[in-house]
Amino acid sequence: MSLRYLVSRLGQGLIVLWIAFTLSFVLLYWLPGDPVVTMLGAGGELQNIDPAEVDRLRAEFHLDQPLAVQYLYALFGLLRLDFGTSIQTGTPVTEAIAASLPSTIALAALALAIALVAGVVIAVTATLTRRSWLRDTLAALPGLGVALPTFWVGLMLLQVFSFRFPLFPAVGTGTPAAIVLPAVTLAISLSAIIAQVLFRSLQNAWVQPFVTTYTASGYSRLRLLLRQALPVAVLPALTMSGVLFGQALAGSVVVENVFSRQGLGRLAQTAVTSQDIPLVQGIVLFAAAVFVLVNLATDLIYPILDPRLGAANRRSAGTDGANLAEADAQGEGSIPAEADATPGSDATGSGSTESSATGRTDLEGSRA
């Protein structure tokens, strides 16, 4: 892990941030509507708005300038780390984000914890079980989990566990119990992703000849799975952290609205509806920055968990996501070398198609 590598990765991260910033700026600019007029409109009642006041406020936010000039204003503000103030509320953007952050972090962290446990249990059980109906059912769950609309799941959970049986509060962030249903709702799609990836790599490991060898030498299936196959299979799941983060953030927009929670997703949603450009941009940049950092951290931790990857990195300067994923899928840690003979595995395929995540999730952020 050279310093040059680190610097170049950070440089790339900055480029990603800049692209996210520029894309969101252009998108917001082209949206029909006018943030100043929206602010002055009295909640939508009939009212003629004073054009002089509109002009004055537009000038205050540089909205009267051509697109390029507005862009430069925003970009220079950004370089000075000045994110501006929200047009609708007058709160500094950093303050608004900071106020929303803790509850979203709590929600995402709990959801991720639930998703990890559920994902691992589903994948391990599906791999271990000898009952084909159970394996098929469990294997189908991830697809279902991803397909279920988050808001529908949220409303149904509320209906049953709050309105029908008053176990959890439906509204607010006041009590610890209030976080349970939102976290479960968010965890469903997250656990689906984890279970899917883990199940595939476990299956992949499970058909390797070494399994037969170990079984023959008296290893129990469970022990074999936990001690040998799982550590290997967890690695590809780790590459998902960036995606999981993106999914958690996108999901929080829906979950925070359904459960009336304060948070980043809710903030993003209201900011977009009222075309609060500085606020939306602040949130997009924040999300992109975290995304870049999560990816960077994953890549830095990876070689530590699997030393061969550091070597692979040094060996081939052109390593890309697909290669890394391939290395994960085929590297079996302490497992005998016959595994290398495996023909192109599933995990390899999914790794290469999914390596374009960076650009995609940035877009999610800007749309959220």
């Binding site: 006018d34 009939l46 439906a170 198609t353």
Partner: protein, 546 residues
């Protein structure tokens, strides 16, 4: 080379899914009804004979976040409903009779020109921070509102033409206007002209928006967090309730907890399961469920200008008087009731029934499709092959951009099709509609305007004021001018009625439906009441603990 080794999310359809949210939501809502139909106990809610008891926190759910909590600046209902609890006004207005009665002012004198207003203030009133409320407080506040400029659009309407404020002594304050301004007395009853302490007025408008506010009202603002909620707590020393209040002294409730719950089905479920006490925005499809549960529904039409179409003289079609008149005649208002909830009603004038100067003008709004067709025919609008009329190559067709939840417009569309008028409906976001209206390019706008005093008509339609029809001054303005100096309430109502009749006759307003806020209340909530502008006054509200 560095790598981005992150696989993407396996399905790319999450956005597509979300976009169907609205459609699915109605399905869910229907499902929820079935599930929730069997929970909760039926108990009739209403005015109880029991003696009011103190204590408890009223849990209220709003549908949207008040972006700014300062009622001197923000004119939205969510904000003003909070402001009414935090601040008091010089006067109060009886929601039944429209009469202006004492509150922080014990009495007042108006000169015969209606230009000078002198208020004699009540003794012993303090702000929640302990500072005294004096004539100087009144002066400071009204000057601060003037300084807010366009940031306080309602405030500017109320204080239009204010020349000077003098304070002869601590208990007396005198306002002098350049022109007769009868509406000012009613304006002093609004929460927009409520009072903040001297310290509050030193803050910037932005700071006040975020909740740095101290008033004289029965509740003080504890906290305001965007998208999370608003907490109010009782001001124990409060002893200057309006003369309309049912009791003196501090409020019954310990506090009010307002949460922002954007999903209607969640508000409804929370109300039925007793997790909240008040849903401030009941959807019409949920009304029957609440009725079935024996929960209370309170509603009152928003006073002021009803949901109406407002034509512009600058438009190609809307500038034709015959077209405007045909539109007034071409709508079958009683039939609209079939698509409205029990708490909404078709319009019977440009003004809603709850407006102080309302008079029933439904005769002028009678359905007369033949009359409408004749008007159009005579004006040269001939039916084309598709049934839509045209004249000199111009089609009798327009696109109405609106954002409101107004399904009745589709019925209006069908009705107008009968007379050969093609009304295209284009529902957009509030931001888009407001921006379009600000451009002023549209033939017709749609909406309502809330105020208890009919001066809202002068303000909105007056050629010298906002002139929403972009028309030249005329007889309408002469009639409206009389209302600014007429001190006799009955005569003033007559003057307004004359102006409104002229407006309808010229087709400058095409009234459609009266907008009502519908509030659902839990089974323990007592004396939840509207004040005159159809916002809430919670000083008398109490929770029945049994």
């Amino acid at each position: 080379m560095p790598t981005f080794s992150t696989p993407t999310f396996a399905t790319g359809s999450s956005h597509a899914r979300r976009s169907t949210t609205a459609t699915l939501l109605s399905v869910i809502a229907a499902g929820s009804l079935l599930l929730s139909g069997c929970s909760g106990s039926a108990q009739a809610e209403g005015e109880s004979d029991a003696k009011p008891q103190s204590g408890g926190t009223l849990k209220v759910a709003y549908d949207v976040d008040p972006q700014c909590i300062d009622g001197q600046q923000q004119g939205t209902n969510v904000t003003l409903n909070v402001t009414r609890q935090i601040t008091d006004s010089l006067t109060d207005q009886d929601p039944e009779t429209g009469e202006i009665v004492p509150w922080l002012a014990e009495s007042w004198d108006v000169d015969k020109d209606s230009k000078t207003f002198t208020f004699h203030l009540r003794d012993g009133v303090t702000f929640q921070d302990g500072s005294d409320f004096t004539s100087e407080s009144v002066k400071e506040n009204f000057e601060a509102i003037e300084d807010l400029g366009a940031k306080s659009s309602l405030g500017q309407t109320y204080l239009d033409g204010l020349e000077s404020i003098t304070t002869p002594d601590e208990r007396t304050v005198t306002f002098t206007f350049a022109d007769p301004n009868v509406q000012f007395l009613q304006a002093t009853s609004t929460m927009t002209l409520g009072f903040y302490s001297s310290d509050t007025l030193q803050k910037t408008p932005e700071e006040r928006c975020t909740g740095d506010i101290v008033g004289t009202g029965p509740f003080s603002l504890e906290s305001f967090e965007h998208n999370k909620g608003i907490k109010l707590s009782r001001f124990d020393d409060y002893d200057w309730a309006s003369s309309l209040a049912k009791h003196d002294g501090a409020a019954y409730l310990d506090g009010i907890d307002i949460s922002i719950v954007p999903e209607a089905s969640v508000r409804n479920g929370s109300l039925i399961s007793g997790q909240i006490d008040v849903d401030t925005s009941v959807q019409s499809q949920d009304e029957k469920t609440l009725d079935a549960q024996g929960l209370g529904i309170v509603s009152r039409p928003n006073p002021g200008v009803v949901y109406n179409l407002v034509p512009k003289e600058t438009g190609d079609i809307a500038s034709d008087k015959a077209v405007r008149q045909a539109l007034v005649k071409g709508i079958d208002r009683p039939q609209l009731q079939s698509v409205l909830s029990d708490h909404q009603a078709p319009a019977t004038s440009v003004l809603a029934k709850s407006t102080a100067q309302y008079e029933d003008l439904s005769d002028l709004l009678a359905y007369d499709p033949d009359g409408a067709k004749k008007l159009l025919e005579d004006a040269g609008w001939k039916a084309g092959v598709d049934g839509i009329r045209e004249k000199d190559g111009t089609k009798l067709s327009t696109t109405l951009t609106y954002w409101q939840d107004a399904p009745f417009l589709e019925l209006v569309q069908q009705q107008l099709r009968e007379i050969g008028f093609d009304l295209q409906l284009d529902k957009k976001t509030l931001a888009e509609v407001t921006a379009k209206q600000a451009e002023g390019q549209e033939e017709f706008t749609f909406g309502n305007l809330t105020r208890t005093d009919a001066d809202v008509v002068r303000n909105y339609f007056g050629a010298e004021e906002q002139n929403s029809n972009s028309r030249k001054p005329g007889k309408i303005d002469e009639a409206l001018a009389k209302t600014t100096s007429e001190q006799n309430a009955d005569q003033r109502t007559k003057d307004f009625t004359e102006a409104v009749k002229l407006i309808i006759d010229e087709g400058y307003s095409i009234p459609i439906v009266e907008l009502s806020g519908v509030v659902g209340t839990g089974e323990n909530v007592r004396d939840f009441a509207y004040e005159t502008s159809s916002r809430y006054q919670l000083h008398d509200t109490w929770l029945d603990g049994e």
